[in-house]
């Protein structure tokens, strides 16, 4: 016996309709004889038999539509032989698919009802299984009201408020009402454990950007757990308190982990002050240079000359930085301290350096520093000269390995060539990480700094 099956009559044919049988049971057919007319979605086509024999049975009647591969007729081999063609044998192996389809014209499973992606998402948010929702829309379609209704039944206390799903959401997820946060800021906030609700955005239309998060982190508690413990909005005093705690943690860690050593040097500022005086005579008042600019530039250049102090101690090794980003300690009016970096400070003209310094102070105090400025410093300087102190010994900012202290430029009696005279001097100090360097290197650094101040025209 051979089966005559619904043939594939084109690349896009899935099913066909028997339009006409050109044979009846008992008829003899030859290979190649046209025995039926099949209607595809495109046209009616005469189809041929690939077997020879006698028509035994017509299985599918005229007008019936069946998937390709469905048996349409049985053809008995001539002389009763079972001359099953190669093709038919192979076809059987792959028949389950069309056969299965033929057996289930109307699947008993619940017919999928149309659900929009938005609703699907909403149901997921609310923890609702759509299969359990009764659709009241057209043709049984599930509407938004159906989903909300189902949610209300499931969570009578909270639904349909979106807070039902609140626990599952990442904390940084924007709330209804719209919190604008850049992806980077969102990522950094997650990494640092900063609650975005507590961050003030400075981007377009109040968008929170990376710098806003970093500033908030510096100005508040860095630990996520503590943020979670104090979720309420905080007053300025609270913020100051938070910053105090952050400084406390960082400095305590520094003193705990870093074996500090200290050296100091008194540098003669005669040439430097005289050069500055002459230079300023050529400049308008608004552009006049201050001694601090010279000192910062010399500090940065010296760090380049002694690279062992410019970089980070991480993973039990010193990693030199490839540029000098000079961290500058800036005290805030309400208390507290920030140390933003002046990028590539050793390459800046004095005027540029001064402008950057002023800009940093303004923005630090206005809370508008960029993230990279708060994290990039490779060595830090603290200058308390304008507060009147003669020398300052600082605490290193981990993972940096050195902190330079600069005191006030002050006139002191100094003996030069056996004669005592009044000369301007400044006390420079260095606190350095003994894991990274030894006192010898520290001494070289301060000497280099002092030498640089003797050649002010090169700064």
């Amino acid at each position: 016996m051979a089966e005559f099956c619904m043939p594939v009559l084109g690349a896009d044919m899935d099913e066909g309709t028997v339009v006409e049988w050109l044979v009846k049971p008992g008829d003899e057919v030859h290979k190649g004889d046209v025995i039926a007319v099949i209607d595809t979605a495109k046209s009616a086509i005469e189809v041929e038999s690939f077997s020879a024999g006698t028509v035994d049975q017509l299985v599918v009647g005229v007008g019936q539509t069946v998937p390709v591969g469905t048996v349409l007729a049985i053809i008995a081999a001539p002389g009763g032989e079972r001359a099953e063609p190669v093709i038919a044998a192979a076809k059987k192996e792959r028949r389950p698919r069309p056969a299965a389809r033929a057996e289930q014209p109307a699947p008993p499973a619940p017919a999928p009802r149309p659900v929009t992606p938005v609703l699907r998402h909403r149901a997921h948010e609310l923890g609702i299984d759509l299969a359990t929702v009764h659709g009241t829309g057209a043709a049984g379609a599930i509407t938004r009201a159906d989903v909300e209704h189902a949610a209300a039944e499931l969570h009578p206390a909270a639904a349909p408020s979106p807070t039902v799903a609140g626990q599952k959401r990442p904390r940084s997820r924007p709330r209804p009402g719209g919190l604008r946060v850049t992806p980077l800021a969102r990522r950094i906030a997650h990494e640092l454990g900063v609650d975005l609700a507590e961050v003030t955005g400075t981007g377009p239309e109040g968008a929170i950007r990376e710098a806003d998060v970093r500033l908030a982190q510096t100005a508040s508690k860095p630990a996520a757990a503590e943020v979670a413990a104090a979720p309420a909005a905080r007053s300025a005093a609270d913020r100051t308190q938070s910053m105090r705690q952050a400084i406390a943690r960082l400095m305590a860690r520094s003193k705990r982990e870093i074996p500090h050593y200290y050296v100091s040097n008194t540098a003669d500022m005669t040439r430097a002050m005289s050069w500055l005086h002459n230079r300023n005579r050529e400049l308008e008042v608004s552009q006049r240079l201050v001694p601090a600019a010279m000192l910062l530039k010399a500090t940065a250049l010296a760090a380049r000359q002694v690279p062992q102090l410019n970089g980070y101690w991480t993973d039990d090794a010193f990693r030199p930085a490839d540029a000098v980003h000079l961290g500058v300690a800036i005290s805030l009016r309400g208390g507290g301290l920030l140390t933003p970096a002046i990028h590539d400070a050793a390459d800046l003209e004095l005027a540029e350096l001064m402008a950057k310094m002023r800009d940093l102070v303004t923005r630090a105090r206005g809370g508008r520093l960029r993230g990279s400025e708060l994290t990039d410093a490779t060595i830090t300087v603290t200058n308390l000269g304008d507060q009147g102190v003669e020398s300052v010994y600082g605490v290193i900012y981990p993972p940096q390995v050195a902190l330079v202290g600069i005191g006030r430029v002050i006139e002191r009696p100094v003996a030069v060539g056996g004669l005592v005279g009044a000369r301007p001097v400044v006390v420079t100090t260095l606190a350095a990480d003994h894991r990274a360097t030894d006192g010898y290197t520290g001494a070289r650094y301060l000497t280099a700094l002092s030498d640089l101040l003797q050649r002010p025209e090169e700064l």
Binding site: T182, P183, R187, G203, P204, R209, E210
Partner: protein
């Protein structure tokens, strides 16, 4: 590299030197296209080569883009290393069947048997007031097609060096030469030669924002970067060089540093290469973005003839700088 003599040259001369070198180094290389021989090339790139190499290897073709581009594909398939020149990218559409249905597919539909080591060069871009059928930047279209590689030399070095590398490639390579670049002057080492064609190049390092471009708009973009520097915005400029495949690593590496991006593309904005680059940044560097990706593209209009309208339709330095300011905020 040796301390070779530095010579003055132009983009056009660099391209010609590249063709000459290829012809000298490999007998299988020949150049064919409309008016490449006796006329000297529509843009004078091949001037003098007919006299040097003869009419068998510098072949003037009839105006039949499909036939001669297809012939290039057939010859490449049969072992030659043809350089086919199409006068402008707009004319290449007459050969699109051959490029898309043959050059790009033969290797795959032959199950790896038929490689097509062909180089197709063509002029692209606007800026010369040649209106709506000679001015478009359609290289973005070609980047849609798997099976071909797309290059855009924007510098003298790349004009000189990309061709040989492209000819060594076993697969078809399209080289888009922006029409405004042929007169670009500069210097090159006398022994300048082949360059890598896989990586994008950072043409200017910066930390605040990444400006991504290629080909004819590289100069405009660098001008914008200078203007931004004066305002204290330190822009990094990436020259894509290879438009397909794209060097994702250089792009995302820069974004990881600057967190802000402007893409500059002379092509029309909708469905553009700029859109593709933007999508990849979203896919691969989303969590590094601190501002939405900005695009500065050609206006969506067939190119008008008058100069003021043409300029208005093209990416200008001020628009690039404005987009950068917007991103930096």
């Amino acid at each position: 590299m040796t301390g070779a003599e530095i010579v003055k040259t132009t983009y056009r001369e660099a391209m010609r030197a590249a063709i000459r070198e290829a012809m000298q180094r490999d007998d299988r290389v020949f150049l064919m296209g409309e008016d490449v021989g006796r006329y000297g090339g529509c843009f004078a790139v091949s001037m003098g080569l007919l006299e040097e190499f003869g009419s068998e290897r510098i072949r003037d073709t009839p105006l039949s883009e499909s036939a001669f581009v297809g012939a290039g594909i057939g010859a490449a398939m049969a072992g030659m290393r043809p350089i086919v020149e199409i006068m402008t990218v707009n004319f290449s559409l007459l050969a699109l069947d051959q490029i898309m249905n043959n050059a790009a597919t033969l290797l795959h539909m032959s199950g790896g048997q038929c490689s097509v080591p062909l180089v197709i060069r063509m002029t692209t871009g606007a800026g010369r007031q040649v209106a709506a059928q000679h001015s478009h930047s359609l290289e973005g279209w070609y980047t849609h097609i798997p099976g071909i590689k797309v290059l855009a030399p924007a510098t003298l070095e790349d004009a000189r060096g990309m061709l040989w590398t492209a000819l060594q490639d076993p697969d078809p390579v399209l080289i888009f030469e922006h029409g405004s670049l042929y007169n670009l002057q500069g210097t090159l080492p006398a022994d300048a030669g082949a360059v890598d064609i896989r990586a994008a190049a950072v043409r200017r390092a910066g930390t605040d924002i990444t400006l991504i471009t290629y080909g004819g708009t590289l100069g405009t973009t660098l001008t914008a970067a200078d203007a931004l520097a004066a305002e204290g915005i330190d822009a990094e400029v990436i020259d894509l060089r290879s438009l397909r495949p794209l060097d994702d690593k250089t792009i995302t590496g820069s974004v990881a540093k600057t967190h802000r991006v402007v893409i500059v593309d002379e092509g029309w904005r909708t469905g553009s290469l700029a859109a593709e680059v933007s999508a990849r940044i979203m896919e691969q560097a989303f969590w590094d973005l601190d501002a939405p990706v900005e695009r500065v593209c050609g206006a969506e209009v067939p190119m008008p003839y008058p100069r003021h309208l043409e300029q208005a339709a093209l990416p200008q330095a001020e628009a690039i700088a404005a987009a950068a300011r917007q991103a930096v905020g």
